[in-house]
Symmetry: D2
Subunit: 295 residues, 4 copies
């Protein structure tokens, strides 16, 4: 694979995604607000760019991987941004998780300027970014998606075009709300099973064999049972995503009582300093509610 | 396999479970409060018994499969029940879903009379009962479980001894609360995705590939998306199980806000005449909340 | 006022209610499962009765004030109970808070025996019982209520006949669910105001002047703000009443999500040993959720 | 009382508030984005102003009464706004309900320019605005509040200085969250009482006499019981306020599960076209949940 990718946003996820682009044979021009982030990757082959425009200069495509909606809006629509300084290939792919309405607005403005815009949020977390096994949900025009696909394929293994502009974000947000609620379900089962005195590890095994099975029970169950809170997708990032879910639901007048309730439990986790811990730390909320010490 | 099983409770599930015992080579003495239920199975080889005692007479083991706690208590502790008229093999296996506290009380009273009692609730629903692929969670004394195991193996494929008396029911109730909450998660994702205009069938496919995956999304998702409510595990039986969850949680002072919330949605479904429909009918609650017609 | 009242149940509330009957000129024959409870009131004029039947003997009316449904059922329908040993005046008034369905069943059975039965639960708590200012919500036949009224008037100041048998309990349960939810509202406002740094005592004053006003904010607000948890209507008694609410709502298929949620917070309070404290202790749940120390 | 007030925002509330200022003897210079709004009040004595700056010109104080945070920010901080064109008296009083954080930011910027800023949101609704009986909760510097007080006294009867800048909004938001939850409590009691067949009007009377009493039960109860949804504080305005509550709570990491739940019920009401109806229309949610027709 050949070609040049401008990569904006070299955080935990972005770094590993850029590395996988390099591995796949792409030239990568990297930019981050923290100037040293791009320079730190120079030895690995990333060409540091001092600005968004510089990262875009001569690139076939620009990929953005940023914390939240305003950051992407600034990079795309702000002064010196991609709307005024697009890559030569006139294609922008945003892989952040941001508001679908903002996506559609950027898509419209870029399209009017002859620039393609694909929303392509990911799931799979830091592990998936490192391994290049992200699941990618893309929205946007078919021809733009077709052009973006090889680049996405360097970073993920499951790549789906799920609809028009914004649809990628919508599906991602649906993914996140299910994750939050499924995690709450696991919390409640463990809290009840623990109080009743059953062997939790065995219970998890048994439940995985039937109708209660879920990715959350499978992957996060062991850490919850053993009260290991550190690693994994962070509580505060989940809270950001749940805020996006709520904003979308409010805009569409969709009541989501389950999501609303579990969101308050994430807020409680953050209030206790668990924001930087993995989602499995949600179980600490149940430790407090039941007045039982964790394992 | 040889031996005689007294089988009490020939309802939807019980009939198919008795058939699988016959297939496995057991003699089955069947009893049900509806006298014709046992007679109807005579042609298949079930020996109809006019009473609990008659079903137990000469049996190695008695299996009960009944709607709720009081029915099992009546069969075990009531006049002419198994405590006074135990099977020759002095072993009772209850496969109903009932209150763990009632299980432990019956276990203690039967044990004092030299009779074993195993709680062995199942998951897998009518399909699993028919196919003999039930998942069985058993609690009770190890030697009693060991004796019950071959009989259970004629009805299910996954058979776990999860702890002392009552532990089978506890694990089953944890299974049920996860099912209810996971189903709510699927409802909320479909409601949001539908309002946002994404292709729901494709969204389900994509979500099954990542952290939002669950048995509920996999198995009940299609029926929910297509608004097919009839078949499957019934809303009103789930409500019964959620009541047992709540009673256990109350007795142990375990707050379960997610379970409490989803239970009110099941109550709403029943208020709209969905009690006899499958769990996927829970999505109709979201049809009403969002004021959107189902597919 | 003259006449004889058999009084069953001399607990915290019952003692003071019996005293108010004495003050009003009634002869009182008292009975309690704890034999010394009636004897302890002999000096005040209560005639101790060794059994329900003895308390009823020669009485115009029997009043019961007991913890829960089974206690009232035992006193009314049990061996040696009021159905077989009614007072001479053939009228029973139950002032406990119990299940409306049980009330209607007892009403029917007593009526068939020519005995009147009025359900007359109270609000106003220990203070109201002491001061004789209880608010009394009565259900039952009009003529029975008319006969009971003077006796009730000795114990309360607001006495309403709200409908047929069971209606008194229904209104009482509606009262309790509002109390629980209104208390949660006060908790959330105080938690938010505290975190935002406003003067909570002044905020309460201001809010009492407008649309947020409630008895709960008025009477329990100060104790919540100052974290005084001991006195008042007990958390565990409220939990009992919320269980009765839930059972009634389930029987009638009325989903009550707000009640369900706040009930889990009461369960949490009990899990932390607050069962014996007043309802204002519910705020401790928010202390834990917000990770803030109380005043 | 003499003096000149610039009044920005002549909507339903603003018009009546401006009229009360005129009645109290103030000269009023009125401005609204809809140019005809100010002209329509010319006959009543309002001097129409074509811009914010023109309304402020020569005024002792400017009062703003606008829909939401961005409108106030535009009027205060925007081009031609009050920061650059302050009134001669260098005092701005915002009576809208907006975000406390935005208030504090405007307060700081205006203060740096030697201009006072008081947040003074109101409760009492359109009726209170008309009658001049609003309850006003003010935050800000003491001397600014002292200067604003006579102007506020022309529009309301209860005027409290509840703390520093933003405190008025915080107290208002606490008021709103209590209102929402208390209204839910009334909904649940009416839904349960109705299903149980009690006389709802009488039940309300009885409950108002005890611990379940609230302004909501008193004032909105009758309309709810009779299913009159039109008049009163609008559902969609309440939703706006609940959004502000949530944003404040999120910023302070205060979990508010009760508020979160009732907010989803307001969203449901809006999804059914009840946004323009009064808050009592929330009961229609329970009509749907219980599958019962309203009165």
């Amino acid at each position: 694979m050949t070609g040049t990718v401008g990569f904006i946003g070299l955080g935990t996820m972005g770094c590993d995604m850029a590395r996988n682009l390099l591995k796949a044979g792409y030239r990568v021009r990297g930019h981050d607000l923290r100037a040293d982030a791009a320079r730190a990757m120079a030895a690995e082959g990333v060409v540091p760019a001092a600005s968004v425009a510089e990262a875009a200069a001569g690139a076939d495509i620009v990929v953005t991987m940023l914390p939240d909606t305003p950051h992407v809006q600034a990079v795309v629509l702000g002064e010196g941004g991609l709307l005024s300084s697009p890559p030569a290939g006139r294609l922008v792919v945003d892989m952040s998780t941001i508001a679908p309405t903002a996506v559609r607005e950027m898509h419209a403005r870029l399209k009017a300027a002859g620039i393609g815009f694909v929303d392509a949020p990911v799931s799979g977390g830091p592990q998936g970014a490192r391994a290049g096994t992200l699941s990618i949900m893309a929205g946007g025009d078919a021809e733009d998606f077709a052009r973006a696909r090889p680049v996405l394929a360097a970073m993920g293994t499951t790549i789906n075009h799920v609809g028009e502009s914004g649809a990628g974000q919508t599906v991602k947000l649906c993914n996140q709300l299910i994750c939050g609620i499924n995690l709450q379900a696991v919390c409640e089962a463990i809290a009840l099973g623990r109080a009743a005195g059953v062997d939790l590890a065995q219970m998890r095994e048994v439940l995985l064999g039937g109708s209660a099975a879920s990715w959350m029970l499978d992957r996060l169950g062991p850490a919850m049972i053993e009260s290991q809170t550190a690693a994994g997708f962070r509580i505060d990032l989940m809270l950001k995503d749940l805020r996006l879910v709520r904003e979308l639901a409010d805009a569409l007048s969709v009541p989501l009582p389950g999501t609303a309730l579990v969101t308050t439990q994430y807020v409680e986790a953050r209030a206790h300093g668990e924001g930087g811990n993995g989602n499995q730390a949600l179980f600490k909320v149940y430790d407090r509610m039941t007045n039982q010490a964790a394992a």
